[in-house]
Symmetry: C2
Subunit: 334 residues, 2 copies
Amino acid sequence: MTASSRFDVLTIGNAIVDVIAPVEDDFLINQQLIKGSMRLIDTDEAERLYKLMASGIEVSGGCAGNTAAGAASFGVRTAFIGKVADDHLGRVFRHDIGAVGVHFATSPLIDGAPTARSMILVSPDGERTMNTFLGACQHLTAADIDPELVGSASIIYLEGYLWDPPEAKIAFRHAAEAAHAAGRDVAMTLSDSFCVDRYREEFLELLRSGTVDIVFANESEAKALYETADFNAAIAALRQDARLAAVTLGARGSLVVTREETWQVGVTPVEQLVDTTGAGDLYAAGFLAGLARGQALTNCAELGGVAAGEIISHYGARPQVSLAQLARQSGFAI
Amino acid sequence: MTASSRFDVLTIGNAIVDVIAPVEDDFLINQQLIKGSMRLIDTDEAERLYKLMASGIEVSGGCAGNTAAGAASFGVRTAFIGKVADDHLGRVFRHDIGAVGVHFATSPLIDGAPTARSMILVSPDGERTMNTFLGACQHLTAADIDPELVGSASIIYLEGYLWDPPEAKIAFRHAAEAAHAAGRDVAMTLSDSFCVDRYREEFLELLRSGTVDIVFANESEAKALYETADFNAAIAALRQDARLAAVTLGARGSLVVTREETWQVGVTPVEQLVDTTGAGDLYAAGFLAGLARGQALTNCAELGGVAAGEIISHYGARPQVSLAQLARQSGFAI
């Protein structure tokens, strides 16, 4: 028995502004960067890399922030919790997430590290390699998790990247408890395969203990979680561990996995692939928006595909059009 | 008789970071904003408007800065003079213009106004309405114009917008004198028709006195300069006043006007019109790059068209690909 909800979706994650610039494959090789990975960097490395980067654009990002912006663009009631500093980038982040209608009331960090930024190098094939300076993000603590706010959202969604800042990990568990205490569902994304490598045992424990009900992953994250090269084996294991899993397959769409059933849902190919940054985040946005509206799971996956398709056709991981309108034009209920 | 040049093109203008967001036509009407115009705003209005704006992207801009970045992308040796503050946006501007190979050594403003920003509202038709907070720009002075640097560039290019900050106007004249003293050419853009309305007499005097040799304009600026609705009359007058004029005609290409001749040069239509911000700036970049390389005037106009076509196919007024490569692929010499 749950109370009526104030929000449909609440996402919690690292509040990051993206600095996006194109890069040639050679640059990644020379800098010994692994294409498609996210790595954490300190101030010195951030300065060094920024000097070498091409001219770029700055746009609010952060996985859970992107998912919140996407969900709001579908017209569902959305809130976000994350830590920015009281600086220029923090104000940009706050403006952008507010401008799409997301409730964001986490107090900024005062007199501490600056707002987090991720330098995203986009290769000619649209793949992105992320270099993240966490800054203020590292100071998201359990005190920032308002149990009343958490309990007022139908689904909360947390990112695996929260395992990187030590205090955020505690905040993650705190939020999951508050959500379950209010009878809500807890979803998480595995974030990336390198993140899974860092925290495999803990992520498995989150699923097996029921701390997390719904899991979002891509192929390489699913395989990394079970340390297998066999995708089918990973899906079989995931089916046992999670009540519901949504696994993205790139251009082939996604797989929706429950204890009893599996559906593969395709996507319409995009005309122009520019930058895959945010594809997974926006897939989750569409899926969660569908869930919040009580749609069938296959329709949730279709909505995820619509949102991911929009985001990869331009630089930046925040939608440039109304996703609700786009979904309806594509013939999907929302 | 001129000494050999260190730079091909030197541009001088307001150093601005653009904050770009999509907007519906209704918003412009409700806010009483004139579509396609640039207006100057103060801190309070900047704050008010930013609150109302949609989620956006930040990207280095400023007309002369865009032109410098474009010229460098064509592979010509380029320098820029403009004033930023020693703040986050100032560092972004410095990084971005340096990353494309533009020499930029103007000292930042310390303990003064923040770096200038322009809130650019992009309508569904790709038109942009600019709201500019000049900040540090207003403190570009004659002291920032190094006569040796100015004299070392084959062509200097100044923006009409420099007439807005009172001290920058003096810097403009100072630069033109230094260039002519070194036997160089002075080009200027009329910037926009509202700017022409503000400074018509002074702009005409710049042309008629020979302070400016080459003028860049679009149709509405040319008509505004001579207070006529008759485009042909404006061109006839411009032919008398300027040694060389390049007048952009939007999708119809451009007109190159000398005392003796006129050429109309077409453009390849773009596949996707996203945002016309920077179209004129990049046209000038291509034209100046061609001039610097001693190309025929019609080829200069073609290069301008290639650069403008690239810039309007995405958000932001800085090229996302090598313009030299793009021009060669399109069959033009550079």
